[in-house]
């Protein structure tokens, strides 16, 4: 009978030691801050914070529970990712294949800017050429051109 008593005492000590971390006060805002990052799993494109569904309410409750248990925001998100995959995150993670989603728009923007600048410079050059002064044609030259044009074709 002695061993169980010691065990219970030990468990009590462990439990007491764990109390400060385990019974954190969690505000509505903290729950909300995590819930907006999670996709409501029964809706297509609503966050857990915004969905009025019963499932979203249950998920918010789980978020609160984990926060109260001392989990960080990242740990709570990891809890859901473990079960649902990264699909459950409203913002795709910036690594692996999903990294493309973050990089491509900026790459496309940069490429577009470079192209636009290049095209604009070509246009500017083209219009400079067009506006270049037409070389003076002297009367002697005019007469010669006319004569050349009127001359019958050489065989």
């Amino acid at each position: 009978m002695r061993a169980p008593a010691a065990l219970i005492a030990m468990m009590a000590v462990v439990a007491l030691a764990a109390v400060p971390a385990a019974c954190r006060q969690v505000s509505e805002d903290e729950v909300h801050a995590v819930a907006v990052l999670l996709r409501c799993v029964v809706c297509q494109n609503l966050s857990v914070a915004d969905s009025p569904s019963e499932t979203a309410r249950q998920m918010r409750e789980l978020v609160r529970e984990r926060l109260v248990a001392g989990d960080s925001r990242e740990q709570v998100l990891a809890f859901f990712v473990e079960r649902y995959g990264t699909w459950v995150l409203l913002a795709p993670p910036a690594r692996g294949f999903s990294l493309l989603l973050w990089v491509l728009p900026f790459a496309a923007l940069a490429l577009g800017l470079v192209t636009a600048v290049a095209v604009a410079r070509r246009w500017a050059r083209a219009s400079r050429v067009a506006r270049a002064p037409v070389p003076e044609v002297s009367d002697a030259m005019r007469a010669r051109i006319r004569a050349e044009l009127e001359r019958p074709e050489a065989p």
Partner: protein, 177 residues
């Protein structure tokens, strides 16, 4: 410059086309479960009859865990008779069936069970804990758990006699751990 542009435009369109082809070919609703191959989450629930049902109690057996709701019409209604048939067929072969009722109200859920005369245990998951542990995002979803307690397959949508037979036979064919 002009020659480069002539090649650049189709070259730029190509990745976009590849991405579109990929996007249109994949079903956005078919989300792969990260749980496949992983140990199935333990749970203990009280059935509608008040008995205890737990995954732990059927450890060593193959387990079929089906998530359903009474409002899930017609998918859940279509598969209910098939689940009961498979249960009767395989119960003596060491296959346990557990129905988990989610996102539902008590009365219509009981009506559903009475209608199909289910003889395998069915329990409501009132706080959605089991639902989240299994990464369930809709009903019906069915999980096939092997004798070692690992999630081996997940079926989204109505399961038929053929699907149940195929998944169960596959796990039955494996040697006992």
């Amino acid at each position: 410059m002009r020659r480069i542009l002539r090649w650049l435009i189709p070259a730029a369109a190509l990745p976009v086309l590849v991405l579109l082809a990929y996007g249109f070919r994949t079903d956005p609703r078919a989300i792969p479960s990260p749980l496949l191959g992983k140990p199935a989450a333990a749970f203990t629930l009280a059935t509608f009859e008040g008995a205890r049902v737990s995954l732990e109690a059927v450890r060593g057996q193959i387990a079929v865990v089906n998530f359903w709701a009474s409002w899930c019409d017609p998918a859940c209604y279509d598969e209910a008779p098939a689940l009961e048939r498979a249960w009767r067929r395989y119960r003596d072969a060491g296959v346990a069936f557990i129905g988990v009722n989610i996102q539902d109200k008590e009365e219509p859920a009981r009506k559903f069970l009475a209608r199909f005369n289910h003889t395998f245990p069915n329990a409501p998951d009132r706080d959605g804990r089991v639902m989240v542990d299994y990464g369930v995002y809709g009903v019906p979803e069915t999980f096939f758990i092997d004798r070692a307690g690992r999630v081996r397959a997940k079926r989204v949508g109505t399961v038929t006699d053929e699907i149940l037979q195929q998944e169960i036979e596959r796990l039955l064919a494996e040697s006992k751990p």
